[in-house]
Symmetry: D3
Subunit: 195 residues, 6 copies
């Protein structure tokens, strides 16, 4: 009854283009295992490259939102989109980045109950509206975020992360992408495996 | 930023009726801590008694569904209702009962992706329809469950558990019931704290 | 084309446990007939006991909301959940308790159009949110109820009644529980049959 | 707390155009009272004329659906649209036309539980889809109705009645049209007041 | 793969009642072609008459809303109801009436992004609520429209047009009414074919 | 009342990185104007690069779906997401690619009514489910697409395009991206301006 990691074939590492392979080996070196999203998307190298370039532009950025805040957006919107891969994998990253073993479960299930700041709550209010009813986003929504202390470049980041994972959640649901078992525990106990 | 365990006051254990106190002490003895639902509902002893009598009638029953299957229903429908307390607390119990550290995360986020049997999938299909669109439940839904191997008494249990947690989720959301931190880790590592 | 009163068997009165039988006979004595919910649930005595203990704790309470107000919550939320049994049976009880032959039809179809007080309207606003989107209930909702004159214990009652009938509606829809024909007319004409 | 019959002014009968007045007097003669929809729409004589011409073309037609079946469509779709006026007024007409004191309450709350024929159930399945998701109506829906015994002209009637009351429900909700108290009881007791 | 103009037969012009034929010839004379709605509804002459009498009462009225504003309501609500005929046909009329080649595409897709006045935006806010959630329309919605400069008779028009096209959209979806190809281009280029 | 092309500043062409500028000049050369999405995203060069790399991987691919079919997916899902920019801009591209002046209006409003093949209809059924309820996509959906003649690599494309524009629609709604006026007419008249 254990599901495979993708509905699609996973190529042998030796058969993927060198840059894709290097990225995969680098993440393995850093995390201790290869998150399945790298393997699943390696079936399409060109899309793999664009996906991770986009991902890094939004998630590895240094200014503005902290990395934990970026992951909160991923976890909250992925929960709303019922995306198993992203809730579990980014839930783990959120725990590690926030050094908080319970916040990911809170944000994934109902961010309104999470132990976060009012500013982060306003961030998630906006992100969830972009995720679920983006056509209704208007100046009032942006003003609420501004009032909570976010500037317009940060607001772009909030919305763009919600948008990027709207795509990512749909790809994961389409391919039935399975999270690595390591993610379920990562960041829940004292010495996380991740550096 | 840490939320209290309830919007309502929690009575001192010495001030609650003896039978309520005994139940609380018994669960503490067994689990090693007092799940917050016992404390939150002790604010209303009469409702406390009826709640746990109903809970036990549905969740402690020996025939038919296994205890793990009963918890799967709780976790799947509580995820759909965005109930933090029930997803986290019953997620832990599901992990313990199923001796499976990852199934609760799967069921809570998207049961269609869970490592469960087709019979359990049919059980959750019915439970989710009772939880979300019970007025549309008809003979076709019952027939699908029967075809997957469930008899009519088991179907009552499936529906009744979904119904009971429709109530429970709403009470938890109303009182803003906070799950004990212990639950987040319980059943995820090899030797669970629970006897 | 007349539907039976339940999808499940109804036990003979002589075969049910004594306490269940006594409760059934008592309600028959008082109402002049046995509301079908008693018969349908007598198929499961343990659940019967817990159900009515919970029901009575919430619906027979003397302080706070009037009995008519409690029934308004039942009728409004059962209408939203398309539960035939509860709309018809509790609609009758509401007419009797409120001594008002039309308010139940109003509340069941669209409570916003009902001839009720602004305080009762605020009560139903909160009850409907608990019934339909409990995960979004927040301090603003409670403040709106408080501003309309409800205290926090009354707010618990409002939410708990909505929650209990979230369960009850699902049980009635699952079992396809049929309201007694008597309920359709009860309280609509000058001398209601009920004492 | 009693709501007026309309948000808009009701003209004096002597001030409305003769044909409108005659229609109002005729219905009063026949029913014993003037249903409020005639008074509310007399504020706009031109719309009044078109409304009732359309209404009569669909509801007074002799071939195909019985008059009771036409009213079933009105009551089911008006329940789904939460239109108090139409549920109560057409519920009364349905009781009278079907000579059945309880079918209107069934159809208004959940037509799936009503004591109607499978052919009528298929009629309401189609009507509800036209009312709620008409853009998804396709050949499969028409085929289901045909299979239940409806011909294509009858299918037009089913859909057109659902469509007309989609309009009517919205007008009643906009004007906050109040049903006459007479309707609540009409057709529930043995000798209905209507000829 | 080209769809017919209706699921139902279109009568020969010589076979329809004289008044219906005259109306059809008049519109052909004026527009240069016969919009398919006239042909599709001529299958039911009595309904044809009521439909266009109602249509004209709402859409040809001189006071209050401009003709372009009336068409904006049609296009916005028809977009929300996914009605191909009305979006395309009334989109064309809106372009002609507003002398604006792009506003119909804006209003049909997301009126919040349209180049319209705040007063027109408030008009569409109300019309969309009547179209989609009329049971929730309350004094606060009317007050918002009044604050934007609409009087109560204009508000009736706004709501009545939304209601009429709730019907019209459902009829068009039921009959699978196909817009004339002429409409797609009408009003987009400098010298519209329409006089 | 004319909206700007973005809520965010548009950099001077001379201030953007050379590769971004070259891409913009190339599209201008080819199309005769610069589609606003290039200008709006040039505010964020790194995201611009990833966005168009991803876009090209999915939309410029030669095997499998035709370019017109790829645009159908964009237009249908963007209509469902109420994204003005994508409906108008990709509607134009669809008209040009399909050499069909009306299909984009059909697909944007209700693809079920479009003049497309059954195979394309199955393609859009799947794309819309990925766009709107991706967590429910299962083997039955893939089988329906396969039965209509799509292979698994084409199914990835269908889903990935729906997913990419789930992101794109949200970015456009967040930035309030305005379509160039040229798009509204492009491909509607005989000699489209596009080469």
């Amino acid at each position: 009854m254990t599901h495979p990691i993708s509905r699609y074939p996973i190529p042998d590492l030796k058969d993927v283009p060198a840059d894709v392979r290097e990225r995969i080996l680098a993440v393995q070196e850093k995390a201790g295992f290869v998150p399945n999203v790298f393997l699943v998307l390696s079936h399409r190298p060109e899309e793999f490259r664009a996906f991770f370039a986009y991902h890094d532009a939004l998630m590895e950025k240094k200014e503005g939102l902290t990395k934990a805040e970026r992951e909160m957006i991923v976890v909250a919107t992925s929960g709303a989109n019922n995306c198993l891969y992203c809730v579990v994998a980014h839930g783990a990253i959120l725990r590690v980045r926030a050094k908080n073993p319970i916040v990911a479960d809170q944000v994934a299930t109902n961010y309104r109950k999470a132990d976060i700041t009012p500013r982060q709550m306003a961030m998630l209010d906006l992100a969830m509206k972009v995720a679920l009813r983006s056509h209704e986003v208007g100046e009032a929504d942006l003003d609420a975020a501004r009032k909570a202390g976010w500037n317009d470049e940060e607001i772009w980041d909030i919305g763009a992360i919600a948008a990027f994972f709207a795509m990512s959640n749909r790809l994961a649901n389409l391919t039935s992408m399975r999270p690595n078992e390591e993610f379920h525990l990562l960041g829940r106990v004292e010495a996380p495996a991740r550096k």
